[in-house]
């Protein structure tokens, strides 16, 4: 039986405001426990929340960028649940009157376009952090838990998609694009490891050709692009196996365990979804001024799609290259910084997309977190262009720049890596190599041209890769005539 998957995503993103959503406590990651708290975010009786205008502005920005309608009337609700990550025993959120509605994002997947509808974007407050004390370190089997309320009350935008996504790969591409849009909007740092961007998925499967949705599972804990795709694949496979065996999928929340690549049920009494939403009596409704809303739209920064097109036009890049360079704001910024001082933009693009990205991936760093700056890369490219170093040496220098942050020209000087372009010097070395390999020279003269590369290699070996390869080739050819 052939199935197709039906996926909708819910993305939570922490907004980059200075202060919390409803009080003046600072928003900051990694501070000492319970130092960014006050009577409002601790839920003390008698304290009153006041809406942070910047958080509203940022969410309207998101709404515009995702082609949403911005509500003329919007309101906050209390979502009641009994869990110690919120001191009030309710979370201030939005219910039937969210700030942004009915948007979409177009994805370019290899060979086709997919439009993913955005159901809504609403604002809520983040929860505190729990540390479970016990042997397992997890909630199950813990003896008790510790609560740090520093994060409680951080403004959070929740973005909900329509069930328009049809594969784990589409989900991954969607999240990548959404992240890039949010980065370009400068509303969040989108750090998935620190949890400022989090993604849950609703996933079900149905026989190809049917319109009806299957029973869905809500999948949690996919905190990277890789795990989003893998978690979904894993859950889809599980559902297929159930249906193939004639069973039925039950609606439940499941947790993705990336270590064992399995999903497991989180169902428990604690999870009874009965939130008893009601309008937050401590906050009056919002009717965002239409002039303000329009002004935010007019002042939107350049978004990834527009940037991609500009990169193709201005820097003469292929769509493929431009798409990679604009898939994250920091990579695009790095490229443009280089392009200011360096004409051959295709070379810059190749370096960024090739060795550089591989290095960043293995070190688990973002481009703006590593020691290599645009200044370093340009310095290296200019050393290649003026013949000081060969492309091969450049790669090893790049590795050292990555480790140490030293300028390439400093490394070249310190290590004496300057390319040998002096003909006499090269001729001397070639003569030595020819003398030592008389039989191979004979083979080549007999027409076995394959061995030519071996001789070039010997010259490079003797010069530790510093000989100018073009010159070596030319002189060697002349000598073997």
């Amino acid at each position: 039986m052939q199935y197709e998957s039906v996926i909708g995503l819910e993305i939570h993103v922490e907004l980059l405001t200075e202060s919390k959503m409803f009080c003046g406590c600072a928003v900051s990651f990694g501070e000492e426990s319970n130092t960014l708290v006050c009577p409002v975010c601790l839920g003390h009786p008698g304290s009153l929340p006041v809406i942070n205008q910047k958080a509203i502005e940022y969410t309207i920005r998101i709404g515009h960028a995702l082609n949403c309608d911005i509500a003329e009337f919007t309101q906050f609700h209390r979502k009641n649940y009994f869990y110690p990550d919120m001191p009030k025993n309710y979370q201030i959120s939005q219910y039937d009157l969210p700030l942004c509605l009915n948007g979409f994002v177009d994805l370019e997947i290899e060979g086709y376009t997919r439009r993913v509808g955005i159901t809504r974007v609403h604002i809520e407050e983040d929860t505190g952090k729990l540390v479970h004390m016990g042997e397992s370190g997890r909630i199950h089997g813990a003896d008790y838990s510790l609560v740090d309320f520093n994060r409680a009350g951080t403004p959070l935008a929740e973005i909900v998609t329509e069930p328009d996504i049809r594969s784990p790969e589409e989900a991954r591409v969607f999240l990548q694009k959404l992240k890039s849009i949010l980065e370009h909007l400068e509303v969040s740092d989108c750090n998935m490891e620190e949890g400022s961007l989090r993604c849950d998925a609703n996933v079900s499967i149905r026989k190809i050709g049917t319109m009806e949705f299957g029973v869905k599972a809500e999948l949690k804990n996919m905190n990277s692009f890789k795990f989003l795709a893998k978690g979904l694949e894993c859950e889809i496979k599980r559902q297929e196996e159930i249906l193939e065996d004639g069973g039925t999928v039950i609606q439940e929340t499941r947790h993705y365990d990336s270590v064992h690549n399995i999903t497991s049920s989180l169902r428990s009494k604690e999870e009874a979804h009965d939130y008893r939403y009601f309008p937050e009596p401590d906050l009056v409704p919002l009717e965002p001024d239409s002039g303000w809303v329009e002004n935010i739209r007019l002042n939107l920064p350049e978004l990834p799609d527009a940037r991609l097109n500009r990169f193709m036009d201005k820097y003469n890049l292929s769509r493929y290259d431009a798409a990679i360079l604009t898939s994250s704001k920091s990579v695009g910024d790095f490229f443009e910084e280089c392009a200011k001082d360096y004409q051959n933009t295709k070379t810059v693009a190749n370096w960024i997309m090739g060795d550089f990205t591989a290095k960043l991936n293995s070190a688990n760093l973002e481009i703006d977190e590593c020691a290599v700056t645009p200044k370093h890369l340009i310095d290296l490219l200019k050393l290649i262009d003026n013949g000081t170093i060969s492309g091969k040496i450049a790669k090893s220098i790049f590795d050292e720049v990555f480790e140490t942050g030293k300028l390439p020209r400093v490394i070249v000087e310190e290590k004496g890596l300057t390319q040998i372009s002096n003909e006499e010097e090269i001729i001397k070395i070639i003569d030595m190599v020819l003398e030592e390999n008389a039989s191979i020279v004979e083979d080549i003269r007999q027409g076995k041209d394959k061995a030519f590369g071996f001789l070039v290699g010997q010259v490079m070996k003797l010069t530790k890769g510093r000989a100018n390869p073009a010159l070596v080739n030319q002189i060697l050819r002349d000598k073997l005539k």
Partner: protein, 94 residues
């Protein structure tokens, strides 16, 4: 009665309240009375009244995004029944 004993048990579970059998009977009765009282509004003609969540016609109360000082941690933890490592201690969750 509009609120059954089963409803009371459900609401008590959501609020983590332990009620004995007698209390469940009492609350079922009292909660029903409250709902019946509130239901009287259904008898009114509200055709021309728009849904209202606030009695006062004020809108758009917001503050600038400015940091104000938090309270000292010791003060924050002062009312905690139990604390450890500068954090609030809560009993076993599941």
């Amino acid at each position: 009665m509009s609120i059954s004993k089963k409803d009371v048990e459900h609401i008590a579970m959501l609020a983590r309240l332990h009620l004995d059998e007698e209390e469940k009977e009492v609350y079922a009765k009292e909660l029903s009375q409250i709902l019946e009282h509130a239901a009287k509004i259904s008898g009114l003609d509200t055709k021309d009244v728009s849904p209202t969540s606030h009695a006062i016609p004020i809108r758009n109360v917001m503050r600038e995004d400015v940091i104000t000082s938090s309270i000292p941690r010791d003060d924050a933890l002062l009312n905690a029944p139990d604390k450890e490592n500068d954090a609030f201690v809560v009993p076993k969750i599941v």
